[in-house]
Amino acid sequence: MGRTLAEKVWEQHVVRRAEGEPDLLFIDLHLIHEVTSPQAFDGLRMAGRPVRRPDLTIATEDHNVPTIRGPISDPVSRAQVETLRKNTAEFGIRLHPMGDAGQGVVHIIGPQFGLTQPGMTIVCGDSHTSTHGAFGGIAFGIGTSEVEHVLATQTLPAYRPKTMAIEVKGALPYGVTAKDLILAIIAQIGTGGGQGYIVEYRGEAIRALSMEGRMTVCNMSIEAGARAGLIAPDETTFNYLKGRPHAPEDAAWDQAVEYWKTLRTDDDAVFDKVVEIDAATLSPFVTWGTNPGQGAPLSSVVPAPEQFGDPIERSSAERALEYMGLTAGTRLTDVEVDTVFVGSCTNGRLEDLRAAAEILQGRQVRTRTLIVPGSMMVKLQAEAEGLHEVFRAAGAEWREAGCSMCLGMNPDILAPGERSASTSNRNFEGRQGKGGRTHLVSPQVAAATAVTGKLTAPADLV
């Protein structure tokens, strides 16, 4: 019987297999940032262990960094960033600090450098590591104990998850994006729907996505409960990689591409579960609640909790509406927002900024609008194209690279009760600042919303 892509990549990385034990998996790339690593380095020091493969490890500063130029004013944040600098220096790990041209959100810089390649195993102490699966590898988030384990051994003991196929048939209608697609998928299968699975996104609509769009989709796999999501590599993948600083060159490139082409699910392979989605039925999507599964088409209304048959979902919807300050039956396009955030590892890439700029071109924003490039390189490219001038002319703020308003660890936060339209990935209570209310949207919807001050689809802009 044939094998799925995930099974092929997994098997390729088994260092040791023994009856009744998890597989010992080799890790090709370990990404590090300041938040989940300090205690891991402490652990190494206490045990007197070195980092086994500093040459397969790379670090950046992202979660705590301010996006307005200047030093970190919060002493606790600063201490954490300084700890990373000290640790990476001591253990010989490459670091891209604030201000460096290679700095950025950890999941943006890996692909940008060409370090993320098909068929690899990639981990990071961050749940959105699933982003890197867009290149056809297995990439997943780990906790600090596992960060220490990978630093010490370059391996992880793990049981292979089951496999799920999400088949997206047909083509996305004009104006419907990768973000809308993944939000719709999560709303359909639920925040626990992918649990215990590696999800392979397949089908015509997935093939048609750019690498950026594929990363947006894979990024949010974790929000459906899946540890990892992946997409088979193809010409789109190879074209994206070619010529990047760490991509193979010359003969090695040809050899690599030959191997990468074998990285696809065999026709006779069987998935443990298959979910089908009809792309043609989708439209711009937005969340109304406090988990990413609580979403609906932007053209619909805030649902009534009684609509949910399951008592747990019902009470969760009740709580969510209360927290969000929303009334059932309100049209989503009537919901007024205070702040718009375009950025994060979900939608902080050049393509996302271009999409937002296209809508903001020649228009004025009515809300506080933060445009935050996912990395310094994205920032420089955007500026080379003049996007920053479009944003500024529209009245939006053009910021330095970092996680920014994706989570409340840096100065970019919502005030209690404030409402945002955000291109990030989590609408959890307080995620963007205590008491803040988050609606997850695509960059296009975010930009249109900034113009009107209410949740708005670009097609509805006059």
Binding site: V15, G20, P22, L24, F26, D28, L29, T36, P38, Q39, D42, D55, L56, T57, I58, V76, S77, R94, L115, Q117, D126, S127, G141, I142, G143, T144, S145, E146, E148, H149, A152, T153, Q154, T155, P157, T191, Q195, G196, I222, G225, R227, H246, A247, Q255, A256, Y259, N291, I312, E313, S315, S316, L407, G408, M409, R426, F428, E429, G430, R431, K434
Partner: protein
């Protein structure tokens, strides 16, 4: 890591689903570089509400958390596990857990116990009716016992053994250093290096 064999204690009912790790420990608490002091940040936002169950003196001293489904979804922050442990919890019982949280827990010796929604409901009712109700979480027998009933739970043999013995994963893996070296010598030549 702390070994876990069997534990008996009182329990707190947390009647919420999708308790994500941002709720368990909000992001501002993640700026610490040490491994201690996280108990103060446990459910920090919810604890500001005087009616939140952890603020009910009847449940002080409880060491088991009985939660709605999908406990520990979201971020990979192990700080969530540290916060629960440092607050005094030894086990969390729920019908379903976020994968990374569950994994992190077993690395630290906080036992995540998966029971059926019905069993969770029975336990929650019992501890709501009488907060002094004791629950026994018995890893060696893979069983939860309370109010005269017993429920079996599943956990793979390897993880169970590691928890029972309190074994450090890294030490176990380093016993296979030769296998890692052998694997490294066969990796594809084009694979990227950061340095």
């Amino acid at each position: 890591m702390d070994a876990f064999v069997t534990h008996t204690g009182t329990a707190v009912p947390l009647r919420r689903s999708n308790v994500d790790t941002d709720q368990i420990i909000p992001a501002v608490w993640l700026k610490q570089v040490s491994r201690t002091g996280f108990e103060k940040g446990l459910f920090a936002a919810w604890r500001e509400d005087p009616s939140f169950v952890l603020n009910d003196p009847a449940y002080s001293g409880a060491s088991i958390l009985v939660s709605g489904p999908d406990f520990g979804t979201g971020s990979s922050r192990e700080h969530a596990v540290w916060a629960l442990q440092q607050y005094g919890f030894r086990a969390v019982i729920a019908a379903r857990f976020g994968d990374i949280f569950r994994n992190n827990s077993t690395k630290m010796g906080l036992l995540p116990v998966i029971l059926s929604p019905e069993a969770v409901e029975t336990l929650q009712k019992a501890i709501e009716a009488d907060p002094a109700t004791e629950i026994t979480v018995d890893l060696s027998e893979r069983q939860v016992r309370a109010v005269g009933e017993a429920w079996s739970f599943e956990i793979d043999d390897y993880t169970r053994w590691r928890l029972l013995e309190g074994l450090d994963d890294i030490g176990l893996t380093l016993r296979h250093a030769d296998a890692i070296t052998a694997y490294e010598s066969e990796r594809q030549p084009w694979l990227p290096k950061t340095a």
